[in-house]
Amino acid sequence: MDMLKNITDLTKVLGVSGNECAAADVLEQLFRNYTQDTWRDPMGNVYARVGSQKPVIMLMAHMDEIGMTVTEIEKNGMLRLCPIGGVDARVLPGSELVVYGKETLKGVIGCTPPHLLSESDKNSAYDIYDLTCDVGLSYERVCELVSVGDFVTFDNLPPLELKNGYIAGKTFDDRALGAALVEALHILSKRKLNCTVICVGSTQEELGCLGAAIASCNVKPDMAIATDVCHAPTPLADPQSVVDPSKVSVTTGGNIHPGMYQLITEAAKELNIPYATSVSMARTGTDAWNIQNQCGGIATGLISLPLRYMHTNVELISVETLKNCAKLLAEVPARLGSDWEEKICWND
């Protein structure tokens, strides 16, 4: 199993929220290395199953990514864009993009050279609606190849390898955890299980965790673990909102069943995986939020990978920590025994 190769394969394909097909194809193919029991649903979610006993535990990572769509084609052939999900317009000037028209086109978001900027220009942040995407084609040619509504993403370069096992690239939110699901499935396929594990690649998380709700209704799991990224320390960020990138984040709070938190942290201790507890009073901003309240209530946990510069094309993570996420994701179901119900019972 080559984690970096899987991440490369998963992040280079288009999967802007609502159009996750290409990402789903790659993820399903990777799942099928370890189980033939895979399927899809009408929402676009991808499923892979190992094991056959009670309880059913669902492990989830979302496949969609933030991106942009074409809103207008200007007379000089340049494109105007609007965001899908939380795109920070301030990272766009000087960026390379991929435009998914009839053909896949290279794009560049240009910016005015400093020579031509007034002081007031320099002091105002770019707004996405003012930026233009250049595809280097005439208006007529653009109209043949690109339509309003076509998807646009950051340039899909392979991850950049940095020092100490860190990598930087696009869409590690949340395809890195997709790669972790694949690795967890790999580990689980070699273990004797007293449960059923269903790994899910979910859709439309960035638009409000929509796929997660549907998947939960389809799977009706006894317990679930959502996986996502959380913030690692970055300049100007509140130290209370971030987690050391060498540790797996395990969340506790209203969105999380205390029994699931217990199961996850016990497994981490067992495997000697460094972890940090993240506290979230209410909404976690992850699929966990829309899993927890489905089907009369699902015991839900959340494992997160600390990531710097979220929603940019230089999202930065530790591969080692990601591998630990995968080990932990596998260990929780692998340790489940006949007393599983006890573990999530409210012994008040």
Partner: protein, 338 residues
């Protein structure tokens, strides 16, 4: 010429650190010249001896970029920059120092920003290069203050008839100038690949002293701010409309005799050309035209969209036409008319 431009564009050569570019160009031009030498500032001279006027043609080797000014306790690198808009460098890949240590310039995630922050410009001092170092001590194993930082944009075809890459300002000029050296001209010809143009037209000031030209020409990559809302006076030049001829810029005024000589060359050879319809920005001819006893200077440029950002875009036909115009100007001995 385009193959060579790809190599040149991808070489790292931030102002003050032109070593890689100089080494490559020296290898390319040595077989074509009588003498190739450098001066104490780092300019590279390629001399083809001849009778007649001393003619100097300049292209600058340096590109906009950054330099490490310090390392923070958390292992991030602080930097300063020249010629760059801080708004255009966020979320980009970079290479640091002699060993090309990979890094990225990140910024705080949108989720952690207040409404007001989203509308605030991040300044150089708010930004850092992240190489994945654990802390300051770890970072110092790989990089140090004074290391130069370059973007790592790959050169490639773009759209139809265009190409994109970093440092097109002025590696287009370097590629053309190397090509010009393949020919012979009826003059004492020196091609100068200058340093530190982007931090104050520095190299050219030494070059004019060393060459003492009577006529000088700069080959540049210039402004082409073709945003949809911009009229011609704001776009300055247009892509695919030919070689750009300057009448004046922020550093020099082109004498009428020089302007006519260049323009007439273009017309006579049916080379598409356009005026540089704006006067912002300057180039090596600024110090050259007032160096020593002064000399006649002109500028021919390739229009490049988004110069001084991590990625710029230019046209193959414009690139070719600038070469054709410069070559015709020299071959026809037009320098004798100025």
């Amino acid at each position: 010429m385009l193959e060579r431009l790809k190599v040149l564009s991808e070489l790292y050569g931030v102002s003050g650190d032109e070593r890689r570019v100089r080494k490559y160009i020296r290898e390319q031009v040595e077989p074509m010249c009588d003498e190739v030498y450098t001066d104490n500032m780092g300019n590279l001279y390629a001399h083809k001896k001849g009778n007649g006027k001393r003619v100097m043609v300049c292209a600058h080797m340096d590109e906009v970029g950054m330099i490490v000014t310090g390392i923070l306790d958390n292992g991030l690198l602080a930097f300063s920059a020249a010629g760059l808009d801080s708004r255009a460098i966020i979320s980009k890949r970079v290479a640091v120092g002699k060993d090309d240590v990979p890094g990225v310039i990140g910024s705080k995630a949108i989720h952690l920003q207040s409404e007001a922050e989203r509308k605030t410009v991040l300044l150089m001092k708010d930004l850092n290069v992240d190489i994945g170092a654990k802390d300051k001590e770890d970072a110092l194993k790989y990089v140090k203050p004074g290391d130069y930082i370059s973007f790592t944009t790959k050169f490639s075809d773009f759209g139809e008839g265009l190409f994109k890459g970093k440092a097109l300002d002025d590696r287009v000029g370097c590629a053309i100038l190397i090509e010009l050296l393949k020919d012979t001209y009826e003059c004492d010809f020196t091609a100068v690949f200058t340093v530190m143009e982007e931090i104050g037209l520095r190299g050219a000031q030494a070059a004019v002293y060393n060459v003492k030209p009577e006529v000088a020409l700069a080959i540049e990559g210039t402004l082409c701010n073709e945003l949809p809302e911009n009229p011609r006076r704001k776009s300055v030049t247009k892509l695919n409309e030919g070689a750009v001829i300057s009448f004046m810029d922020g550093g020099s005024l082109v004498p009428e005799s020089m302007l006519n000589a260049i323009k007439d060359t273009a017309i006579q050879h049916n080379i598409p050309w356009q005026f540089r319809q704006g006067t912002s920005g300057s180039n090596d001819m600024g110090p050259v035209h007032i160096g020593l006893a002064g000399c006649k200077t002109g500028v021919i440029s390739v229009p490049c969209r988004y110069i001084h950002s991590p990625v710029s875009v230019a046209s193959k036909s414009d690139f070719e036409n600038v070469y054709r115009l410069a070559k015709a100007f020299l071959r026809d001995g037009r320098f004798n008319e100025v």
